[in-house]
């Protein structure tokens, strides 16, 4: 978690090395997700998966502003949240493979990963769960006076659900140090978000007087800056902050998704604003980092993933005789 500790000291301003790390982490997520997809098709990943491809800047931007002891609650689309926070991609892949070496020993699978040591209190397969859990974690931070914050990631469609409303209200009443990050990728599964949502999502936290920002969720630097403000607000004791990151999912909602609901040309347009493309541009413009250096990162990450897969597929499956017996 070196990066996180560092960034706290600096605010949103970072040096070239840290900027390169941001890019690397986004690439790591993308390549991880591509690999999960391939391995799913090969039968090494089971059940179902919900990939984060296209949304990397949101998770990476937000988590890069967190510090030691902060907590994160992710979703079923949680590989990105996990890697952004610093969960070992090896442990994560091993979990997808159902191995004993997985983050949860193969018990959790794609949707429910927990990694306490990174501050990942959980990924929540049931929509809205992350919001309620992070609110509770923030109650701990407040009462235990840790100075830490808790972050809830969730999607646009989740704003119509019970946890959202009840938890936002309670967090604001109790002035809890929680940051609600709504990753608005325009769709609730296959349904355009406007078809199922009355009014703008942002007007809901605002109706409760909650600090609200909307940001380009594909620009990792913009997300960082907005997150810095939101996190600072929450950490200061002023109550929760709500950050809406506008983004787009490049792949199917889950493994079986015809994608028919997308508006014509929409995917292509968003692909031009791929967080990785925008990231490369920013690194070149702001830090003069050449394209070749970034290609090296890409190649490096590709190699890392290859090794991860090799190690993962060689890892042992869990033995049902261990645990799984009487509940503690």
């Amino acid at each position: 978690m070196a990066e996180k500790t560092q960034s706290k000291a600096q605010g949103a301003e970072i040096d070239a090395q840290a900027a390169r790390d941001l890019y690397r982490r986004m690439r790591l997520i993308r390549t991880f997700e591509d690999t999960v997809q391939q391995q799913f098709q090969k039968g090494n990943v089971h059940g179902t998966t919900h990939l984060y491809s296209g949304q990397e800047a949101s998770g990476v931007g937000v988590c890069s502003m967190l510090t030691e002891g902060d907590k994160v609650a992710g979703t079923y689309r949680g590989h990105g949240h996990s890697i952004a926070l610093g969960v070992s991609p090896q442990k994560l892949m091993d979990e997808m493979f159902g191995r004993e070496t997985g983050a949860c020993g193969g018990r959790a699978g794609s949707m429910n990963v927990v990694d306490v040591e990174s501050g990942l209190i959980g990924c929540f397969g049931i929509v809205g769960g992350s919001i309620g859990a992070a609110t509770g974690a923030a109650l701990s931070e407040k009462l235990l006076k840790t100075g830490n914050v808790a972050v809830a990631f969730f999607g646009d469609g989740t704003s119509n659900q019970a946890y959202f409303h009840e938890s936002l209200n309670w967090a604001q009443i109790e002035k809890l140090p929680v940051v609600f990050v709504c990753e608005n990728n325009l769709y609730m599964e296959f349904t355009p978000i406007e078809n199922v949502t009355a009014g703008a999502i942002g007007s809901r936290p605002q109706a409760m007087g909650i600090h609200y920002q909307q940001v380009d969720g594909n620009d990792v630097f913009a997300v960082r800056e907005a997150a810095a403000e939101a996190i600072e607000h929450a950490r200061s004791g002023a109550g929760p902050a709500f950050l809406e990151t506008m983004t787009y999912r490049f792949v199917g909602h889950s493994r079986s998704d015809p994608g028919k609901y997308r508006k014509p040309g929409e995917l292509d347009e968003w692909k031009q604003r791929d967080p990785l493309i925008l990231g490369r541009q920013s690194l070149q413009e702001r830090y003069g980092i050449e394209s070749e250096r970034l290609d090296e990162i890409d190649a490096d990450v590709a190699k890392e993933l290859q090794e991860i897969v090799e190690r993962g597929l060689a890892a042992p499956f869990p033995d049902p005789a261990n645990g799984g017996g009487e509940f503690k």
């Binding site: 794609s110 659900q161 599964e189």
Partner: protein, 336 residues
């Protein structure tokens, strides 16, 4: 409709039942998340929206509002069917189901009924993990006023769903995810509806009674086939519903076989299997020579195939246990 092989797919059976009842009764409506335009995440309901228009509705992710909406609609003239995508999410909808819908007819002093059906995909075996694999039966069965139906075959699914929609009070209709793609033979004699609360003896036998519901019935039938090769003649009872609970059919079978094995995909403690066993034991105590329940370990459902597979009360486990308790060679019996 039968396909070219004369069989019917389970998911198609569900779709046909909804369509037939919507055709038959204009007050039947259907809603859920992504059930209309997209046709449902398990591809159960494509085509219904095109056919029935605004009577098929895509909802927000609002399980509680859906459930309460179905209740309010049901007591004012509609017959709503709604889908809770994974049965695990029923927990978000339970206040309305249990406190409103299930009680309405009784508490209103029978002034009005509450005809609604909640459909949900349940069950493990697909590596979906602990929050997308549960059987909700333990949560739902102890609720007077809420019928709980879970068909084992495509033809039963069609007939039981049609009857559930016609029923004047709430029905939880549970579809096992591992059954959506099974196909069962159809014939012209298949009944349009089947009564709720009537179990079926789906295989006759003399030595032991295997009782289950939903996917478990198919496991029992395969186990019975294997057991018959070892000289054990098992009778298989498909309960079809857990409320109303047809204990009579089970008791009649047990009176004949004197041995009962109840197979449940779920925990033993608080499960329907041991509950039924308790009712059977109290009423048929002196008919019983042997009786036990095959259920899951008392933990959440694990993801990894090497953990989930042995977690399930499958055919092999049934064969093994029955063979061993009946003194038949278990090794041979498991087909090893």
């Amino acid at each position: 409709m039968a396909d070219s092989n004369g069989t019917l797919e389970y998911r198609v059976a569900i779709r046909e039942a909804i369509a037939a009842e919507m055709e038959r009764d204009e007050t039947v409506v259907f809603f859920g998340e992504d059930v209309a335009i997209a046709g449902g995440v398990f591809a159960v309901t494509p085509g219904l929206y095109e056919r029935f228009g605004d009577r098929v509705i895509d909802t927000p992710i609002s399980e509680l509002a859906m459930s309460a909406g179905a209740f309010g609609a049901a007591v004012t003239g509609l017959r709503p069917i709604f889908e809770i995508m994974f049965a695990d999410f029923l927990l978000l909808a339970m206040d309305s189901l249990v406190n409103q819908a299930a009680k309405y007819w009784y508490v209103s002093n029978e002034q009005a009924s509450c005809p609604l059906v909640v459909r949900a995909a349940m069950g493990a075996g697909g590596n979906f993990g602990a929050m997308h694999s549960q059987s909700p039966i333990p949560w739902l069965q102890g609720v007077p006023g809420l019928k709980v139906v879970a068909p084992a075959t495509a033809t039963d699914a069609r007939a039981l769903l049609r009857q559930s929609i016609r029923d004047d009070n709430p029905v939880a209709f549970l579809e096992h995810k591992r059954l959506y793609s099974v196909k069962d033979p159809v014939s012209d004699d298949d009944p349009e509806v089947l009564p709720l609360g009537k179990a079926a003896v789906v295989r006759e036998g003399t030595d032991v009674t295997l009782v289950s519901i939903s996917k478990g019935v198919r496991d029992c039938l395969r186990a019975a086939d294997e057991l018959s090769e070892r000289g054990v003649n098992a009778e298989v009872v498909d309960l079809r519903s857990l409320r109303p609970l047809d204990t009579e059919t089970v008791l009649n079978s047990v009176a004949k076989t004197n041995r009962v094995v109840i197979v449940e995909e779920g925990p033993l403690i608080g499960g329907w299997g041991a509950n039924l066993m308790g009712i059977v034991a109290a009423e048929g105590l002196h008919d019983l020579d042997d009786a036990w329940t095959i259920a899951c370990p008392e933990t959440p459902i694990p993801y990894s195939p090497t953990l989930e597979d042995p977690f399930m009360p499958d055919e092999a486990k049934i064969v093994r246990e029955v063979a061993s308790r009946l003194g038949v060679d278990a090794e041979i019996a498991t087909g090893a």
